[in-house]
Amino acid sequence: MARSGPIRILLAKPGLDGHDRGIRLVLRALRDAGMEVIYTGLRCSASQIVKAAIEEDVEAIGLSSLSGAHETHFCEVSRLLAEQGADDVLLFGGGIIPQQDVDRLREVGFQCIYPPGTALEKIVDDLRSTLRPESSAGARKT
């Protein structure tokens, strides 16, 4: 069921990774694009992330990891979301994620994994076209 109004997103850094350049850029780009974005800061556990996502009623969660611990943390977030019956929340991720792991993450629900250097506009467009397909199609026409 597609919503209307501003898109609500939660961005989070799971685990101990301190590299937050990328996620902060995404945060800024999504806000500049008119989305409502909550960013948890560093060192969030999967359960804190899922709790925040449900409390804040977000439509998507973006996770970032550059420390090689993506599989543990991303899969845990996906599992807990399903456990809470919130598996309609869109999942996406970014960071240094080896190609061989991308397929595995796709299986647990991460539609898109963005490597460093991805154009910010692409992330904005992807989220819009998935979460607001009608209005983004309309926007393209004008």
Binding site: L16, R21, L42, A69, P116, A119, L120
Partner: protein
Amino acid sequence: MIRKGKILSHDGTDPSRWQEECWKPFVAGHPERAEDFQSASGIPIDPLYFIDPADPGPGEFPFTRGIHPSMYRGKLWTMRQYAGFSSPAETNVRFRYLLQQGQTGISVAFDLPTQIGFDSDDRQARGEVGRVGVPINTLDDFDELLDEIPIDSVSISMTINSTAPLLLALLVALARRREIDPARLRGTVQNDILKEFIARGTQRYPLEASLKLVVDVIEYCIEELTSFYPISISGYHIREAGSTAIQEVAFTLANGITYMEACRDRGLDLVAVGQRLSFFFNSHNQFMEEIAKFRAARRMWADICRNRFGIEDDRACQLRFHTQTGGSTLQAMEPANNIVRVTIQALAAILGGTQSLHTNSWDEALSLPSEDAARLALRTQQIIAMESGVTDTADPLGGSPFIEELTDRIEAEASAIIEEIDNRGGTLSAIKDGFIRNAIEQSAYESQLASDSGETRAVGTDQGGEIPEAPFQVDATIEETRHDQLAHYRLERDARTAEAALMRVEETARQGGNLISVMVEALEANCTLGEVSATLAAVFGEVQDHG
């Protein structure tokens, strides 16, 4: 027209002031690598070329042209490749391999739990053990990591900050176990907590308590480890977080000022402190600007030491630094192109006068480096050192109008930023009020937009190609193995001795005393890094990042 100058005339006439006062006395005690240097075509190469013989040369305050009179004619930089992954035993194999290949120092990468102070079996360590570096929780781990490596002759550099006091204590404990006088230990602990708050994110304790621990390490090293550098004030990560070259210099030196002030407040002799500080910079692709950046940083730091802190001793005003090529410049697409990027960046660091260098491996945009790629990165340095001839005269680009202009501009603009930080009440205030982070983030955003728009796109990345598979994967079973090892370790030790040692750490922390000696005792009593860190957290509190 600029008349070019030479320092030494080959018929022995026309000796310059620098040659007589600085170079000659130095090389008398530190012979150069060769009697004579010449180009491949046989042109003689002098130790220095200059525009105005009155200008300070290398080895002379303010050290714009280098900290040593003979620079690489005397001694090449230390080739120090950062390595660490999976387990102490596996990392030890990589270290020995790198030493065998001609590396001249060791540089330890620790995993994130170790960097923040969690043992491998801590709940917070899940998924992170052995990923970005090696897990070290106990004296036995550390012994295994450095097995058969002569720690009294090979210098050991450790990228460690929140837990720097503990890793230093482990090194001291290991020296004692091997019956080596700790005073003979050579190396560096990064121990730069301010840039963790600014850009790297492994901080654990509140800012003031963290700064106290930094000064504990400096104080201990001045008193006990007379050949060890207790801090490496790092611009590297500030740059990786997105700053410009100018901001990198400004924020790093501003942090340096804060450490000097904290040492002064502790009552330490600033001459002794100044002689023991080291720095760590990044090197990106903008070749000329990077070279000028290193030159400007040296001149600025010398000026800060003399005019802000009143240090008369020249050696205490020298900015000595390590360089690593720019991780964020590496591209995942067509990754072999990274070899060329790394070469340019390494050459900039060398033309900028670095004391040690890590060259990134071409595959690091994909994963931790494979052994082949790590060797190639080291070979890149060796080729520059042995085959290019840029090492045969000090500061070969000094005097170039473009380089000198860039050096002056970076100095002026970075100095203006430091002044702004002063006006905000210093670095601690500028960290707390978000000034530094916001400035870096703004630069990162601008550079991302420039890349998105195609204005600065990296070569080979716009064809929409596939990203290759990662060549290196950390063994995922390491975490479980570590759990068993730690459980065994705790079971085997004398619980009462360990408990008592932790109590002494706690008491010392509460009383505000220097913690290093009691940490050495605790680690020798087989306490773990996680246990000691948790003890400190109970006293100092812990910080939380809220974005």
